[in-house]
């Protein structure tokens, strides 16, 4: 059902774990829906110096988390904000149609983390989001 790339990232996820000195943390999704992604980033001089994730979810959710962290590592904030779920899915060589909703989480988690970074460092910016923010925010207690 899944591509080889997806299986590779699922069985061998890159950047799993927590970042003790993270200055940008974003959590999206909720347990009720069956997918939660938490992303930790260390941002310095506008660059994503390091990134880690933890995901509760299906194979597609884990694989997209892993791929998304790979794609933003070392990139500028601007580039990280430009990452779309479509790009992540393409990098994974596709996902079954029923699984696309699981892949949206990674894009949203990155945006949420960057918003957290702005808030924490007193930068008055609001991250524009193409996703369904109401779904993501607030109800992961």
């Amino acid at each position: 059902m899944y591509s080889e790339k997806v299986m590779d990232h699922f069985s061998n996820p890159r950047n799993v774990g927590e970042l003790a000195d993270a200055n940008a943390v974003g959590t999206v999704g909720n347990a009720k829906c069956g997918d939660i992604m938490k992303i930790y980033m260390k941002i310095e001089d506008d660059i994503v110096k390091d990134v880690k994730f933890k995901t509760f979810g299906c194979g597609a959710a884990v694989a997209t988390s892993s791929m998304a962290t790979e794609l933003v590592k070392g990139k500028t904030i601007e580039e990280a904000l430009g990452l779309t779920n479509k790009a992540v899915v393409e990098a994974l060589e596709g996902l079954p149609p029923a699984k696309i909703h699981c892949s949206v989480l990674a894009e949203e988690a990155i945006k949420a983390a960057i918003q957290d970074y702005y808030d924490k460092s007193g930068i008055e910016k609001k991250v524009e989001c193409s996703g369904n923010c109401a779904h993501c925010h607030g109800h992961h207690e």
């Binding site: 899944y2 699922f10 939660i36 992604m37 995901t55 509760f56 979810g57």
Partner: protein, 390 residues
């Protein structure tokens, strides 16, 4: 590969294949071709198969009607009774944890103007016969309660429910797709009016099943056309499939007691092994009143599909009722039906055994599950919070 998904389907036994083969080649005749020798041979095979299947559930041969499987038997029983008995009433009673073959059929009938009561079950997935009794009204024509649940294995008090229905003069159907060939069934003693079964659950072929219809039950046909199956179901009989089903069921019912004891030992070893070696884990379904081959668990803080995939990569085949395996956004209605919150229901795993399952396979499986669950928990933001609290 270690196959522990026998509730989904089973391997066809060699003896079953041997019994079927001649009906594809030498004895390929149409059982409705009256005067031909091959037709006669096919007819004889059909009537023997009907005798065998009837014998396994305590029915008369004339009360067994072959179908294309469990889903058709369920559809036929429910739609056939509802339509035929419309003048008596338009109310059907079933439960919240039935197979979709029953639930979606009832939902379809609701759209046609029938009323359906979905009786809830207890924390083990068991139906309380009193709840059925209380739900029956003057309008009720049918009660449909599954014999045993396909996800969590719980066996219902079928005889008691049958008694209530008989007393109230309401037809009683049971979806026994998981129970047939696995536990003793006697339709007469259990007051069953209609019973669904499916061959591929007991080492028979896929695409063949049967509906038991007690003599005297008023029911409409589902498939209209030729006069096959005593005029109850059109389409040229699937002779080979039917012969295979009868062979498989006869074998399943031979030394059932002995096989059941062996299975229960293995099942309980698996249950204890998992519960002892994996923390934050629950058993779903009743501890003892469950199918001899069924185990079902929920592992907290992880999601079922990723567990399934991980096990599959190591050669263990099981199933899950998580949203991501059900193709919807909600986890299994059965797990929600026994009162589990969504987040726990997402982390389910069903491992179902067969008479071919060995103790070595169970040992190996128990050993494999713990580390895989731990690996997924180490990746889970939910588990992180638990660790912090400890």
């Amino acid at each position: 590969m270690i196959y522990l998904d026998n509730a989904a389907t089973t391997k066809v036994k060699d003896s079953v294949i041997s019994a079927m083969l001649p009906y594809f080649t030498e004895t390929f005749g149409n059982a409705s071709s009256t005067y031909t020798t091959p037709g006669q041979a096919a007819r004889k095979a059909l009537s023997e198969a009907r005798e065998k299947v009837a014998g396994c559930i305590g029915a008369d041969a004339k009360e067994v009607f072959f179908t294309s499987g469990g889903s058709e038997a369920d559809n036929w029983a429910i739609k056939g009774i509802a339509l035929k008995n419309k003048d008596k009433g338009n109310h059907i009673i079933t439960t919240t944890v039935e197979h979709h073959a029953v639930l979606h059929t009832c939902e379809f009938l609701e759209k046609q103007g029938f009323k359906v009561t979905y009786v809830p079950v207890d924390e083990f997935g068991m139906v309380n016969p009193e709840d059925i009794k209380n739900a029956i009204t003057d309008e009720t024509v049918l009660v449909s309660v599954m014999f045993a649940n396909n996800e969590i294995g719980t066996i219902n008090p079928i005889k008691e429910i049958g008694e209530i229905c008989r007393e109230k003069g309401v037809y009683f159907h049971t979806d026994a797709v998981q129970a047939t060939g696995a536990v003793p069934i006697d339709v007469k003693e259990m007051n069953i009016d209609l019973l669904s079964m499916s061959a591929h659950k007991f080492h028979g072929p896929k695409g063949v099943g049967a509906l038991y219809i007690r003599k005297g039950v008023k029911i409409d046909n589902l498939l209209h056309g030729g006069a096959q199956e005593l005029g109850r179901r059109a389409t040229t009989e699937n002779v080979a499939g039917i012969v295979g089903m009868a062979q498989a069921l006869s074998e399943a019912c031979e030394n059932m007691q002995e096989k059941t004891e062996k299975l229960i030992k293995l099942r309980d070893k698996l249950i204890d092994g998992i519960l002892e070696s994996v923390p934050y884990t629950r058993l779903n379904g009743h501890r003892t009143k469950r199918l001899p081959n069924n185990t079902s668990f929920c592992f907290r803080y992880i999601e079922g599909e990723s567990l399934l995939l991980s096990l599959d990569m190591m050669g263990y085949v099981v199933s899950s009722g998580s949203a991501c395996t059900s193709g919807s956004l909600d986890p299994s209605h059965v797990l929600l039906g026994i009162g589990l919150p969504h987040e726990i229901a997402h982390g389910s795993m069903r491992a179902s055994l067969s008479e071919f399952t060995t103790e070595e396979e169970i040992d190996s499986f128990i050993k494999a599950v713990g580390p895989i669950v731990q690996r997924l928990r180490d990746m889970s933001p939910l588990y992180e919070e638990v660790e912090r609290k400890d």
